[in-house]
């Protein structure tokens, strides 16, 4: 599978990559975006199977990116990895069509739980 990791923090993109590996999800094709706008563009150009996105990013937030993708008829599997977790954000994510909501800090166990049904 091709996975797009969208986060404005290089550190967090690296940690997401490492945690995927620690959770046993090796061998996937990983690509990275540095903000929501770039993620939006890369979903169209790279055609990933899954997007793992931060919420609070410059240019375009993660949820704005997701909403715009859905408005364009794109149904890529999309979910959030974010340090901010409030009931209203979770509802916004769900309403926008997100598949998962992972809260930072996260563990490999949490990744396993969320991504096993998606990545197998």
């Amino acid at each position: 599978m091709k996975i797009l990791i969208a986060d404005d923090s290089r550190v967090m993109r690296q940690i997401v990559t490492r945690t995927l590996r620690q959770a046993g999800f090796d061998g996937h094709d990983l690509v990275e975006a540095q903000d929501g706008k770039q993620a939006f563009d890369m979903v169209q150009s790279e055609k990933p199977d899954l997007v793992i996105s931060d919420w609070n990013m410059p240019e375009m937030t993660g949820v704005e990116c997701l909403r715009q993708l859905r408005a364009n008829g794109n149904n890529v599997k999309f979910g959030f990895v974010t340090s901010e977790c409030t009931p209203e954000m979770m509802k916004q994510a769900e309403d926008a069509g997100a598949e998962f909501f992972i809260i930072k800090p996260f563990t490999a166990e949490r990744f396993d739980e969320v991504f096993s049904p998606i990545l197998g």
Partner: protein, 160 residues
């Protein structure tokens, strides 16, 4: 101004424990050892912060010294301490402030927004229109770590 009295040091402690167990001390051998006295004397020269606006106004600041920032970066990035550069430290401390600030936001009244992180070196940033309302300090691997929540004074106004 919303009352933040409900946010206690124990809440910060819980967030910090999650960060340590996930990234800085997954083996459980190098915890943050709390310091309760003479916190003002703890020398920190790297400060990462996020601002919170909305129904509550203030700042969450994570402060440490360079050796702590290096150890922190090495742990976050799975690198040797000797390989850590300044950009790594800036990125890692910013992410640390983002994680702590984001989790703090979850404990505040609904309708708050968290800014992107800022990292500065040198003297501690000063927020003339805010005051510290909650602080957690400790030593990690012998070096200082101080996490402070500043709340803006006044009736919902953020002058910072």
């Amino acid at each position: 101004m919303s009352d933040v009295a409900a946010l206690r040091v124990e809440d910060l402690q819980e967030i910090v424990e999650q960060v340590w167990s996930s990234y800085l001390d997954p083996e459980g051998i190098e915890p943050l050892i709390p310091v309760y006295d003479d916190i003002d004397a703890m020398k920190t020269d790297m400060h990462a912060s996020v601002s919170i606006t909305g129904t509550w106004h203030g700042h969450v600041v994570v402060a440490c010294n360079e050796p702590a920032a290096k150890n922190c970066s090495a742990a976050f990035l799975a690198m040797e301490v000797e390989e850590v550069g300044e950009a790594d430290m800036m990125d890692v401390l910013g992410e640390l402030a983002n994680i702590v600030g984001g989790n703090v936001k979850s404990m505040l009244p609904p309708g708050c927004f968290v800014s992107l992180p800022t990292v500065v070196t040198g003297e501690a940033p000063h927020y003339p229109s805010a005051e510290p309302v909650c602080q957690l300090a400790g030593h990690w691997m012998g070096d200082p770590f101080v996490i402070t929540m500043w709340q803006s004074r006044g009736d919902g106004g953020d002058a910072a």
